[in-house]
Amino acid sequence: MAIFRWRDPFDEHFREFSRLQEEIDRLYERFFGKQPYTLKGRVFPAVNVYEDDANLYVSAELPGVEPQDLDITVEDERLTLRGARETMNETETLRYRRREREGGPFHRTFSLPARVDPEKAHAEAKDGVLMVTLPKAGVMEPKKVEIRVD
């Protein structure tokens, strides 16, 4: 007859384990659901950056922002996204019952991890997602400095 050790649910180690499980569940929920994923006070817009040999790609989630209300500048290896999100103003009759989305102007600047050619940069927006493609600048030839010996 096989002997199994009975696991006392009130055993100290087991309790510790379930506490750890709860922590994991909480973390999981925070990343994958239950909680609204855009929490207040978050930097806006959230961006992802990608890189291949030829380009850097910056994508940003901008729900509700009209592409013409968006200002994108590339200068000195810095990318700036600026614009405004529409907000509904409360009036006598119009009231917020729940407010999770943030509104108002936004301004965000990033240092780019590579030199890019601003002239060739282009962007497209679709369904509230912006994608900026930044072609990398040609590799600079190392310049040899001659040392004059008298």
Binding site: K34, Y37, V47, N48, Y50, D52, P63, E66
Partner: protein
Amino acid sequence: MKDKGPETGMMEAKEGLIHEGPVLTPAVDILEDGEALLLIVNMPGVNSDKVDIQLLENELTVSGRVMWKEPEAAAIHTEYTSGNYLRKFILPKEVDQRKIEASMKNGLLRVRLPKAGSVEPRKITVRTG
């Protein structure tokens, strides 16, 4: 209006809503004026023909399928995860379910839930004699 979190982290296999990524709970604003309730739902990456709104009794389910594809390049900085969206709401009784309207633009879903016309209080005369 009370909202109800998604039932599970994964969608059941359902036509048109199968995605490898996580199911996200979209941020929502709920506004009310004298005539209607207005839901504003952030769904970046969802096209208007990939939004699904279902009403079952007083439970309104809003879901969206993300069509946006990541570039085929190495991700070097990640602040958001893209995935499908799902959120459920329990509608108050005063909503006229036949008149619900929705529109989608720039990854923002708006659902207008008109309230049923207010019923005039009826005075009942008490006859005497």
